[in-house]
């Protein structure tokens, strides 16, 4: 597969996952607010903090009102990670690689785009929870179509790697921010916390029911274990990394696997997670852990780029072997 095309598919998938994550965060927040009319905890600020782009927000919006935060995260065309920007980027990427993905996938992403554009023009602003739920459904639909219509070849594997690397990033980010915010309101980390608060964390990564099946009762340690270290839950960081790792090794880059920097980096991070417990993460400082996790994820992203997409110079060896075959 062309490096340029692989790059576009990888980012198409990342952008869609990003839009889905943002929409889910907002939808959960909207629902959470409805559940506690008297609650004075500021719910919108953490969402902006989860993006890591507070500076941009403060400059352009100021107050953390529902309308401001929703506009920022949903339709701001100048903000690089809004739902609108992400879906436009995903769709633009898909358009350049239409021939490399299934037409069903292209049509779905195109419908997704037109759906977001129609909501943007709708007089009802900010949009209600139904809109964000639809965004999530559109994203699921696309994921399902990709899985159901594409050969597990290079293209699909890059889509899959992009999807899961983005997901690992977003799950860790929301955990970081929610954890930090919520801890301000609790005194004892080892007791069962306010179900509502923590279940909102879990719901924002669609994991509430799966968590209940696994653990039944909520503790911080269990939540950290489930969202970071679980190897079976599809939104957990570790599961996501395993998926990305599998897809990258399926692609089988230009160099042997043991030399492939992207895979080496992913393995190193997986090794670290293997050697870590939820207790250790909490004791060592949740925020520090997530910080270092995100740093590793960025390194993997860069390694993926260098390994597969940045092929530029014609290697001298290939030129020589070509000369030999000619003679």
């Amino acid at each position: 597969m062309l490096s340029r095309v692989a790059n576009s598919i990888y980012w198409m998938s990342r952008y869609v996952e990003r839009a889905e994550s943002v929409a889910r965060f907002i939808e959960v927040t909207l629902n959470f607010i409805l559940d506690q009319p008297d609650h004075d905890v500021e719910q919108w600020e953490p969402l902006v903090r989860a993006t890591g782009d507070e500076e941009y927000f403060n400059e352009h919006y100021g107050a953390y009102t529902a309308a401001n935060v929703q506009q920022f995260l949903t339709f701001d065309t100048d903000y690089h990670s809004s739902v609108r920007t992400s879906i436009s980027n995903a769709r633009e990427n898909a358009r350049t690689v239409c021939e490399a993905i299934s037409s069903e996938a292209w049509e779905q992403l195109n419908s997704f785009y037109h759906f977001v554009r129609a909501a943007e023009r709708s007089p009802q602003q900010p949009p209600n929870a139904g809109f964000y739920d639809d965004v999530v459904q559109h994203s699921y639909h696309l994921g399902g179509i990709l899985d159901a219509t594409m050969t597990r070849d290079t293209g699909w594997n890059f889509a899959n790697a992009g999807r899961f690397l983005e997901r690992a990033d977003k799950t860790s980010r929301i955990l970081d921010v929610k954890y930090f915010t919520l801890l301000r309101n609790v005194s004892d980390m080892n007791t069962t916390f306010d179900d509502l608060l923590w279940s909102s964390v879990l719901r924002s990564v669609s994991s509430f029911e799966m968590f209940r099946k696994r653990y039944h009762t909520l503790t911080v340690e269990r939540i950290v274990d489930f969202l970071i270290l679980d190897s079976k839950f599809p939104r957990a960081v570790r599961y996501s990394l395993q998926q990305a790792r599998h897809s990258l090794s399926e692609v089988d880059g230009p160099v042997a696997e043991f030399q492939n920097e992207a895979i080496l980096q992913t393995d190193a991070l997986l090794d670290r997670l293997d050697a870590t417990s939820a207790r250790q993460i909490i004791d060592g400082g949740m925020h520090e852990f997530v910080d270092s996790l995100q740093h590793s994820l960025n390194m993997i992203g860069e390694a993926v780029h260098e390994t597969y997409f940045a092929l530029k110079a014609f290697p001298a060896t290939q030129s020589q072997s070509q000369m030999q075959t000619q003679s």
Binding site: M1, N110, F314
Partner: protein, 492 residues
């Protein structure tokens, strides 16, 4: 509100493709007309709207220039097809095959011995001043001796009922993706009418195109690597480039994806560099290779022409074919058919006055108010004078242009293109159409049974270009009586 029906439809003294002047359907159109007249009142409009939505969902759109919010529009598509009966199609198909054979022999001749000039059939002066002649192609022997692999020839029907060739498009003719997608959508919308009418399928185009390209492979490989080369996403035909690559299952590449090394062409893949054997290029000659053509081109591949000349890679269409798109050289195609094939042209040219010939020039200068004057190397309606719609001042300006550079101008009578009923609000009106069939030339010439019917949607307009209010229609070539199934296998 009355439903859409043909009951009050008027042909207004134009040749109508579906109806005789008395309002009786032509052969081949009866079933279609019956079926549409029997649809419930609002049904046709609902189907037309469903088709527009499908086109939007499929992303078959173009961006409206100057609109900041990036509004996208679909190319207007009208549900009433143009119908071509079997016997007439046979005539068109034979004429096109003959024409493409002669054009191919012509291009090969002028880049080699130029016998047609030596024998006095084409004046030397005309060839010498052909802007699209490419000196870089002199002496080149394209794989299998074929230059024009993909051609879209524009045909029109005049009031006399005959089909004429308006122009040949031998560079990068576009539009075939609309033919295929329009058909797919029409089949969904009117399945029963299709089944009854014995419409010949167009679905085999991608297979034929692939076979045509594979036939050109210059390298000794079992499974050639074929790519479609596009200028990129901002090209107006990008959708088509991507569609064709997808339908053939080949890579769609941009200049930056390719590299030439030791005269071989490679593409940059996630697995390193992979050799490319055949390139269906949708980039004009000028932009293909900055080393051989325009040095400022960022779209092309440096060294591509050298690789091509040395027979390491095949290019379709071959560079240099555009010389036969020159509107003056077009005037000589009937002579070419006689010269190379010793045959009578099956499809006549539109009567063309070549201003380089003194008699023709004198006639043109006297009749500027009646004729359409065209510059030899302009396209898309540029450099044109439409006599009956022009002012004395414009005519004067063109008279000067013609006198200054007679080689650069031809003139043709103003034609009354035939019409096809078209949905206009709550009723049908006749709208002028042309027809672009597609010819592939691999082992032998092959003509897609159908083609792009472009329709001038504005009342009375003769301009079918999409940029000027044109739309498209499906083209139904009716099967021969008794032929139920036809082979879709490639002919290579």
């Amino acid at each position: 509100m009355p439903g859409l029906t043909f009951k009050n439809y008027q042909t207004d003294n134009f040749y109508d493709e579906l109806f005789y002047p008395e309002g009786i359907p032509r052969p081949g159109a009866e079933l279609l007309v019956d079926a549409i007249d029997q649809l419930p009142a609002s049904e046709l409009r609902l189907r037309q709207e469903a088709i527009s939505r499908a086109l939007l969902r499929m992303g078959i759109t173009f961006t409206v220039y100057g609109d900041e919010s990036g509004t996208e529009k679909i190319f207007p598509f009208d549900v009433i097809p143009r119908v071509v009966e079997a016997i007439e199609w046979n005539h068109i198909e034979a004429g096109l095959k003959q024409r493409i054979k002669a054009l191919n022999l012509f291009i090969d001749d002028i880049y080699h011995d130029q016998n047609i000039v030596k024998d006095g059939v084409l004046p030397a002066e005309i060839l010498k001043k052909a802007k699209s002649f490419r000196p870089q192609c002199v002496g080149v022997n394209p794989p299998k001796g074929i230059w024009c692999h993909i051609t879209g020839t524009d045909l029109i029907r005049h009031t006399d009922g005959a089909i004429y060739v308006l122009e040949d498009n031998l560079r990068c003719p576009s539009g075939v993706s609309y033919v295929l997608q329009n058909r797919m959508i029409m089949k969904r919308s009117f399945p029963q009418i299709f089944a009854d009418s014995k419409v010949r399928p167009v679905v085999g185009y991608a297979t034929q195109l692939y076979a045509t390209l594979a036939h050109l492979c210059p390298n000794d490989v079992a499974d050639p690597t074929i790519v479609v080369l596009t200028p990129g996403i901002y090209n107006s035909a990008y959708y088509e480039h991507s569609f064709l690559a997808q339908q053939m299952g080949v890579a769609l590449v941009q200049g930056e994806d390719l590299v030439v090394q030791d005269d071989f062409v490679y593409m940059r893949t996630t697995h390193g560099f992979q050799q490319v054997d055949v390139i269906y290029r949708r980039i004009d000659d000028d932009f293909m290779d900055p080393k051989a053509f325009r040095k400022d081109s960022m779209l092309g591949v440096p060294g591509l022409m050298q690789a091509y000349r040395n027979g390491r890679v095949a290019l379709a269409n071959a560079p240099g074919t555009g010389v036969a798109d020159d509107k003056v050289i077009y005037a000589y195609v009937p002579d070419m058919i006689k010269y190379y094939l010793n045959e009578v042209p099956g499809l006549p040219n539109v009567q063309t006055y070549v201003c380089d010939r003194p008699d023709d020039r004198a006639y043109v200068l006297e009749h500027l108010d009646e004729l359409v004057v065209k510059a030899a190397n302009e396209a898309g309606g540029y450099g044109m004078l439409i006599g009956p719609h022009s002012t004395k001042e414009e005519q004067g300006k063109f008279a000067e242009l013609i006198k200054a550079d007679p080689r650069n101008y031809v003139a043709q009578p103003t034609l009354a293109l035939s019409r096809v009923p078209t949905v206009v609000g709550d009723h049908f009106e006749g709208r002028h159409v042309d027809l672009r069939p597609y010819i592939l030339y691999g082992k032998t010439p092959w003509v897609l049974p159908g083609g792009l019917t472009r329709v001038a949607l504005k009342k009375g307009s003769l301009v079918v270009n999409s940029s000027q209010g044109g739309g498209s229609k499906d083209t139904w070539v009716i099967g021969h009586p008794g032929t139920e199934v036809e082979p879709q296998e490639a002919t290579v």
